[in-house]
Symmetry: C2
Subunit: 277 residues, 2 copies
């Protein structure tokens, strides 16, 4: 059932789960995707989704995933419990909870799976123009947080500027365009798509041109593609568009689109992010 | 704790809950907000949120709400169970589940509450220009579904056109602007905001100019305002902007913004919707 192409890939290791029966799975945080105070949230979302994908009663493919981050995961083992909330004819609802011993629940998610079928198709949204990824150098990432080295980010609009010692007095542009792909290359599947949806830098870094402490509180991703669409993407970069609407009272929103090179909207994603400052 | 201004208002009746202890509440569907095959999803989201708001351990105000609709609610009583998943210093995570006897779980939600605090403020998004609501006639709604009569919709861009007997061959514009307010008037609070976030007509009605069966599967709303901001809005209309990115394989996404007359972005919302056709 797992879409794992290569068990030696760090992403497959990060989302690997050992079934314990009755909807319980055991997993382990990945040093290769370590972030500042815990694992990269994208891998957490991905492993939560993967637990539902691996459930023997799963039908269809992911349609919606909401991952709530309650507290930083500690380095080490975790357990995931997947509960089948309801299965209808063509849709299925899941509640997924990640616990770490006495630390209690550190992440929980809801997911909807659906059996997709052909029908009316229309895409009012359009991908922005961008130079092909081959012509854009990836952002250098060596020596920074580990998870940043698990992706190639090729910015085509509003690349991050060197951080200022103090946040910029005047807010800068929050909108960015970038090509993004796993590093090393890996064929796109639903868990990796869920992770890539969280790979955009916090908009506040772009707007204030400075590092401030942030943490995603909740992220929701909608999958507009089926397994065949993902197979067509393969390991090619996706064009990611990210922006923010508002920074207010300690939180900002972040909205993202992920486009195939062929111009198909593969996923849309939204998150609400805590920031200090 | 309830923000109920007037227990005789149909919205307050629709979200009224009787505490049963240990995070359990009893509620009842509202005929005044009846939709086609069940209650208006906005009131379901609102009553799920209200259950968390009424929980004695609740801190702060709503930051994020994801409501998943598993099956249509039957007319009559329901029970809601609110579980405090985790409480941090300034944030709190909730799991909220609505059951109807042997029908099992028909809706469940996750919510994040937060104690908001002042800090960096910036609103890159801008409200679209719109004529003032006083100058726009509400869409006539008499004799249609009951919930439509609980709001005033004053379209300022792309008002719904009379449905065609067959869907339009060429897709129409999905983007709409409308002023929206409770009818009768009611001071805005978090539950009513959660409901208004779901009051936008299915984008497929605009795009195909025809009625096709639809159903929201999951809706996520981010609250960018605190109680003081909502008090400043009072019962004034909000400017609602709604659009869709893609209709594919039986589902479309719907994204919405709700603006105060003063130009403050009060909430953003996203949903994924099943459609037939």
């Amino acid at each position: 059932v797992s879409e794992t192409a290569d068990p030696s890939h760090p992403f497959d290791q990060a989302i690997a789960l050992e079934p314990l029966g009755e909807g319980r799975f055991k997993g382990h945080t990945s040093d290769a995707y370590w972030n500042f105070t815990g694992p990269f949230g994208g891998t957490t979302a991905a492993v939560l989704l993967n637990a539902a994908m691996l459930h023997p009663k799963r039908i269809g493919t992911p349609l919606a995933l909401t991952a709530n981050y309650c507290a930083p995961l500690a380095k080490g083992a975790f357990e995931i419990h997947v509960r089948e909330v309801r299965t209808n004819r063509s849709t299925q609802h899941w509640a997924i909870e990640l616990t770490q011993g006495e630390a209690g629940t550190t992440a929980f998610a809801t997911a909807v799976f659906a059996e997709r079928r052909p029908g009316f198709a229309h895409q009012p949204a359009r991908a922005p123009k961008a130079p092909p990824p081959e012509t854009v150098a990836p952002l250098p990432m060596r020596g920074m947080m580990a998870w940043l080295e698990r992706y190639e980010f090729r910015f085509t609009h509003n690349a991050p500027q060197p951080p200022l010692p103090e946040p910029a007095a005047e807010p800068r542009d929050a909108l960015t365009h970038m090509w993004v792909n796993d590093k090393p290359a890996r064929a796109l599947d639903f868990p990796s798509l869920a992770a890539i949806a969280d790979s955009f830098f916090g908009r506040i870094f772009h707007v204030r041109q400075a590092f401030v402490p942030i943490g995603t509180v909740s992220i929701t991703t909608y999958f507009h593609a089926d397994a065949q669409d993902l197979a067509a993407v393969g390991s090619a970069p996706l064009l990611g568009v990210a922006d923010a609407s508002v920074f207010a009272k300690g939180y900002f929103d972040q909205k993202a689109e992920l486009w195939s090179r062929a111009g198909q909207l593969i996923a849309t994603s939204h998150q609400i992010v805590y920031f200090r400052g």
